[in-house]
Symmetry: D2
Amino acid sequence: MKKVVLGFSGGLDTTYCVKYLTEEKGYEVHSVIVNTGGFTREELDKIAVHAKTLGVTSHTTVDAVKGYYDRIIKYLVFGNVLKNNTYPLSVSAERLVQALHIAEHVQKLQADAVAHGSTGAGNDQVRFDMVFHIMIPNVEIITPIRDLKLSREEEISYLKSKGVDMNFEKAAYSINKGLWGTSVGGKETLHSKGMLPEEAWPTQVTKTGSEEVKLHFEKGELTAVNDQSFEHPSAAIQYLQTIAGAYGIGRDIHVGDTIIGIKGRVGFEAAAPMVILKAHHALEKHVLTKWQLSWKDTIANFYGNWLHEGQILDPVMRDIEAFLQSAQANVTGDVFVQLQPYRFQVTGIESNYDLMSSKFGKYGEMNSGWSGQDVRGFSKIFGNQTSMYYQVKKDVEGAAGN
Amino acid sequence: MKKVVLGFSGGLDTTYCVKYLTEEKGYEVHSVIVNTGGFTREELDKIAVHAKTLGVTSHTTVDAVKGYYDRIIKYLVFGNVLKNNTYPLSVSAERLVQALHIAEHVQKLQADAVAHGSTGAGNDQVRFDMVFHIMIPNVEIITPIRDLKLSREEEISYLKSKGVDMNFEKAAYSINKGLWGTSVGGKETLHSKGMLPEEAWPTQVTKTGSEEVKLHFEKGELTAVNDQSFEHPSAAIQYLQTIAGAYGIGRDIHVGDTIIGIKGRVGFEAAAPMVILKAHHALEKHVLTKWQLSWKDTIANFYGNWLHEGQILDPVMRDIEAFLQSAQANVTGDVFVQLQPYRFQVTGIESNYDLMSSKFGKYGEMNSGWSGQDVRGFSKIFGNQTSMYYQVKKDVEGAAGN
Amino acid sequence: MKKVVLGFSGGLDTTYCVKYLTEEKGYEVHSVIVNTGGFTREELDKIAVHAKTLGVTSHTTVDAVKGYYDRIIKYLVFGNVLKNNTYPLSVSAERLVQALHIAEHVQKLQADAVAHGSTGAGNDQVRFDMVFHIMIPNVEIITPIRDLKLSREEEISYLKSKGVDMNFEKAAYSINKGLWGTSVGGKETLHSKGMLPEEAWPTQVTKTGSEEVKLHFEKGELTAVNDQSFEHPSAAIQYLQTIAGAYGIGRDIHVGDTIIGIKGRVGFEAAAPMVILKAHHALEKHVLTKWQLSWKDTIANFYGNWLHEGQILDPVMRDIEAFLQSAQANVTGDVFVQLQPYRFQVTGIESNYDLMSSKFGKYGEMNSGWSGQDVRGFSKIFGNQTSMYYQVKKDVEGAAGN
Amino acid sequence: MKKVVLGFSGGLDTTYCVKYLTEEKGYEVHSVIVNTGGFTREELDKIAVHAKTLGVTSHTTVDAVKGYYDRIIKYLVFGNVLKNNTYPLSVSAERLVQALHIAEHVQKLQADAVAHGSTGAGNDQVRFDMVFHIMIPNVEIITPIRDLKLSREEEISYLKSKGVDMNFEKAAYSINKGLWGTSVGGKETLHSKGMLPEEAWPTQVTKTGSEEVKLHFEKGELTAVNDQSFEHPSAAIQYLQTIAGAYGIGRDIHVGDTIIGIKGRVGFEAAAPMVILKAHHALEKHVLTKWQLSWKDTIANFYGNWLHEGQILDPVMRDIEAFLQSAQANVTGDVFVQLQPYRFQVTGIESNYDLMSSKFGKYGEMNSGWSGQDVRGFSKIFGNQTSMYYQVKKDVEGAAGN
């Protein structure tokens, strides 16, 4: 009997896949769920029970939170990556980690095929397909939902006919939760105009007033919050999320380019990610040189876009990571952030590597390391070529005028 | 008698310059003030009176608001330029327009020298020096404050000795206002930590609740607000500022690289600029292609940095402007923004050029222009090279393992 | 009867397509050949006769040489585009112009389908497919050679069975000639090692000794060679080719990334293109500013790669062209080039816009526009931030050492 | 008595400096010469004798060849760095290594001052000044030639008056030799037009005919030539130079932007560097992915320009080096190069990491890892957004036309 490994979330589509692969295709189905921070222990247990009830041969739960951070999120922080200056790539990043774990599971089980529940209209199909083509190139990829183009109703009716009992109600919004943020799609996001209503956000605002948090970074990684240290940055992120999430911070709507060309709009809430990215960037602005900041922006922009498009395995990504890692050598210090309902403000930093040290002079007020005469010479030389350019131009135009 | 043109703001430093140039250096002083949107008619008149009282031979007021927009701000909007993803370059941009107008004034008066009141510790000295070196290369540049390194007290005592009567009190914060935002420096901004207190902000928050505004862009330029059209985008910006400013929107602190190498920290409030930049970017995300968005970011980042460093006259800036202008062909439509105290949210757009049109399918839900089979082929080819890369790597490592 | 427009070269593959489309598929075939400079009048006439003999309903010859230059080559010159610093994109560029003309022909004839003779292993299939998807999105694309995966022998045997009489012999090398160079593939290029033998090059070396040519550029375009003016730059290119080609200049082998992921190796000869690109670049190095040169490189690199991948219709290409056009404002002057068998050397330029004017000083010898003191100040400020960086680093490390 | 460390070449300018610093300024002069591959043992000994005769307190010879390679040239090879696609940065690179060694010597001797013999018209003054400002910020920098603006005749007459006996004849060309190439300036290079005559080149052409060399790279570094291994890549470079130099390979004239704004023209011969750079790049084109090649170009371009401008100590250079190092992981293999008088041709490569492996299909001929159907889908999706762009545009224009 041929084995297939199925990426399984317990939702309608992947539930359909279990039954379809088992009963219509005669596969031995091995379901796997990769937790990237969005599921509680209870939810994972429920999903496991559901999988078993559906008749899978084996069901595996992979706890990928730390690896997700180490492999991807770390670099998103180093690069201050926000797609189109807006979206922390919450879903894009975690889909790739899931695909990588599923591919490993296929290798381990020496399965004949791998299946995922993506439709033909989104990004995820490309991310799964591509990681599988690369990691397990000779394994067949089966995508029932995409290939059969089934409607929701058809899936439900098929499952009912197979005696499956589950909650068939369609949620008002499709929600995807993970360590690096939660996406919220549906209704308003399906059009170019319209904001999600208050009740659509998974994390409701429960705090008022204002609160300061202190984030400690070591070589670019968040290691402590309010002087509380964590054994792994992923735990620090989760802790900060409990603090900042309750303020409704980091909510926004993003419209972006999908891999397949259409524009897609999605709401997201990402309190901890947004606070961390802005705090990290603020610290970098104090400790890095001008061209470090500039090149980090350029290169990290590409990193984010290429990751979004599923290209995490292109070796150029390793090269960029080497650059980003090198640039974090001095990104160590504390960042102070004021949290308030729906917004936050970085209020300052403290770092031994701070280049804004008063011993070098104070911007606009005092120059101790150089003289006005030095700047006078600098200005002359700094504009020297453009000055020549205008003199040459004037000569040509003057000559032409005669 | 030798003529000097002096950039004049009416403050302590440039007041000192008038007296110093006239009485110590024997110059005929022609003062000029270039209004880039920060002064009212009354303020300008008062400054003119002050100049005359000090004994200048002529005083000229240049209304540069429209030209400032046409020459610089337009492109900052096209490029969604925020220095280090934070600061709209409020001061950097206007200083250059001022320098350009002063240089023109020097040419018109055929003056022997040009003077500015910059210290040796900031960016402005470089901007003024450099524009003068380029535009009026043979005109002497005089910078009394920088060269003499006078203290505030010394300046005051000199002026008093010359019978000058003016407000000698030092403001708690140094404020610079213009069409594209107001900077606020002093106390907290002189250190790496600390936020400006509520009372330091020139525009106080007077509105509560929430309000929607509709911004209309034509080829990237703001031409109407809430269906009210303006003869020039600069007027639209000023109108939007009256609406959004009262919410305390667009306040932040930026730490950045000065031209001369030190890090400088400055507070700013820029309600209209921040709303316009985010609204414009949102519209672009709907109407431009992926690589237009990507290259605009890269190139506009440089544009902003190079402008900040005073290099507006480098011809590469014209080339970049040609790129940015070309990219605005379809950036036409309405953008909806929700304003609230201290924050705002772009809630959607309407544009005939919107590429997120439901006729092409709905992201994640429906694909009408292509098939799942097409995407399957795409994914295979899109990851083809990386797939080969891993196969080759495996072969080498496998061989090495034997 | 359904109409199909077929891109027709007269070779085995497209000859097969005519018969297949007519006799197996029942189409009315309208063949079209787009001359981008590679065919003589006689060759085009022969191809027309061949098409008619095969039974096409109509055959059209499009003379696209000027348009090819105006639409693409001009910008490749402006950008000094050499893919991977080697290959002038001879074939990539012309394939797109051919696709665009074929698409126009489809629109004109209101054809139901369009056909091309590409295999499934190269770049051209993507270029044709993509231009057709964009320009004529609802027209069916038929690709018999790709879809049927026929061997050469099968094609010949089919054609013979249909009574077709033509030269069925396989050339030792596959050659593609056009205005912007000639590619040569086969034998040696199919492997990673090995150079094409002398006899494989379509243009044999017939000149010895050495010869100077003078190229005149107006705003970046070649308008005269040795003081002989041409009504269109494409004619100047062809004239220069007759001079430089006979020296065997511009031969090389390129290995590059195909659109579909594999690496491909191809020989090419491109005497006029290589001489023009290097001459144009030399002129630019004299008349453009440092950052114009730098940004042109970056942006033109992408332009060349994206063009190579068939993306000529992405609007970002128009934006880049606007940049490149703007940068050519002063690229006017004469360039002197020494030609010799197998090599050439740019020996100098003359231009009114030359920024290397002795009136500004002589590099390394004399400084007339600034003083040593100015440079001293410049050096201090230019390294100011890095100097602070090291002082801060030393402090931290010193403190850590205690 | 105050100590000064003087960078000493034994030429007229630095000879003048010794006497001037000793006799006019009362310094104890410690001369140092840093050999970056341009001097023989005999030349260095002669220079030492000359220094002693002039009366220096100490003279030190630093052999910096290996360190020069390890610190800079390695990365220039990794990045295939040619300034403006022409010049291997022969002089720029070695000047920085010299400055770094001189600064170390200052620290070791705890000298009060450092001196160099640069004029005010070239790049070297900035490179020396800047490295000194950064590495030894509190040490006075003395530049007699720049500051006194002495003519050659004045220097000679002064030295004669001090009884100095040396060759005072001016060479027809100023030559600077080092491991990474030799620059040749004078006469023709002082103007925009004119090639150096045959006799001006330091290495004369003594070989005829043709010769193949095989270069072996390990992770991007040249480790063997024609199967002869070297303990350090710098020795391999020197060995290759003896082979290729005699063919007159790698001669060219470059016009480039100096740090101080003027354009400078310089001849150079760099046989080994040019062969190595092109061979290395050829190998990379076979083993790296498309985006590795593309980003390497972009980032290495900046690296070369920034190095040229003396900014080797900016930490961003370390970050770029980390990127470049990472990208060399698979750059291992043999490259075959045909040498002939005045030219060379890379004829192929052999590498286990070659991505142009026939097992993946042959470009243009055979596709074994994917189907024509896959490419069809790819083309559709790859052009999907631009296709939508044109449909939207047509709708708007159609509507506008009504």
